[in-house]
């Protein structure tokens, strides 16, 4: 395949399997959403598992959620919402073909992502320090009548689900960085790659929007 990314008029290339540029754009977006639907299923199964145990052990889960730091979780929600907003601006500038501002906004998004991971690292370090990591060293001493096995279950889901979400954040950083690299090298002809990365990033934000109230803000 030809490596050129621009047509003879300097505009974006319409590849030969597409009739028009609009059709090509729609195909990209529907394709990306197909991938996101698989991700929705993936996280959906985990949310269903969470619902089952939350429903069975509501009281224990309430006591256990008191052991999580909702202030840090709230800060992380703010950070991710901000990063989603800068991502929207990046797509906006990409559509306007303003490379400089687009790169600035992508950079801001990456900074937010790192900020999220730093806060997360502090949270996790605290859990590691207090033997809250499921496994042979797990211990949960309390005077609220919380079953230790239920506590281990809660923390397994906490580490599993926030960990999987964290992994998505790390992948997001890598993908955004790659996009920035390609943009600097002028290997990208239109806004579509930025839009794709943006959709992925908003999905990561979306998962956190549900993880936050479900783990940190459990009512009695």
């Amino acid at each position: 395949m030809a490596t050129t990314t621009h047509n003879e008029h300097g505009g974006p290339v319409v590849y030969e399997q597409f009739e028009t540029y609009e059709q090509q754009t729609e195909s990209y977006i529907v394709g990306m959403w197909t991938f996101l639907v698989t991700e929705i299923m993936f996280f959906g199964a985990l949310f269903v598992m969470y619902s089952v145990y939350r429903w069975k052990y509501q009281h224990d889960f309430y006591e256990l959620s008191q052991g999580l730091n909702w202030q840090l979780g709230g800060i992380n929600t703010m950070i991710l919402l901000t990063s989603s907003f800068t991502m929207v601006l990046a797509v906006h500038h990409a559509q306007k073909n303003d490379r400089k501002k687009q790169l600035q906004m992508l950079g801001a998004t990456i900074m937010c992502a790192f900020g999220f991971l730093v806060v997360k690292a502090f949270e996790w370090a605290d859990k590691f320090a207090h033997n809250k990591v499921p496994g042979p060293t797990f211990s949960y001493v309390n005077d609220h009548g919380v079953n230790e096995r239920h506590a281990e279950l809660f923390y397994s889901m906490y580490f599993g689900m926030t960990g999987l979400h964290g992994l998505h954040v790390v992948i997001g950083i890598a993908v955004i960085a790659a996009l920035m690299g390609l943009t600097v090298k002028d290997k990208i002809s239109d806004y579509i790659p930025t839009e794709m990365v943006g959709l992925y990033w908003h999905f990561v934000d979306l998962v956190w929007i549900f993880l936050f109230p479900l783990f940190y803000l459990i009512p009695k």
């Binding site: 069975k56 908003h202 803000l217 009695k220």
Partner: protein, 111 residues
């Protein structure tokens, strides 16, 4: 708007504590109301992100069909509760909590 909702999420969850509404917090209704509000706000936030940030509101019908299809299917996964909610009424030989080698029906190894 999203940040407002974000603050509202925390306020809604924490208000019964700050106001010290012991009775409300301990009642099953309070718990339901609190859950519904927390998830309702999360739902509104999600709708805003999907419709505006992800541009679904301005996208083609085909794209919207994929999006709605995906989220509709994921809600169907909660039909799993039809099983979990009815297990206790459906006796199975050897699965009683008191059976010598029976695994506890509610999955609690400490029973």
């Amino acid at each position: 708007m999203l940040f407002l909702l974000m603050v509202l999420t925390i306020v809604a969850a924490k208000l019964p504590y700050w106001l010290d509404l012991e009775g409300f917090r301990n009642s099953p209704i309070g718990s339901w109301v609190n859950n519904l509000i927390a998830l309702g706000i999360a739902g509104v936030k999600a709708l805003l992100v999907i419709n505006i940030f992800m541009g679904v509101k301005f996208s083609s019908k085909l794209t919207r069909m994929f999006v709605i299809g995906g989220f509709a299917w994921v809600t169907l996964m909660w039909l799993l509760f039809a099983d979990y909610a009815t297990r206790q009424w459906e006796p199975v030989n050897g699965w009683e909590p008191t059976a010598p080698s029976g695994l506890s029906r509610d999955g609690d190894p400490n029973h």
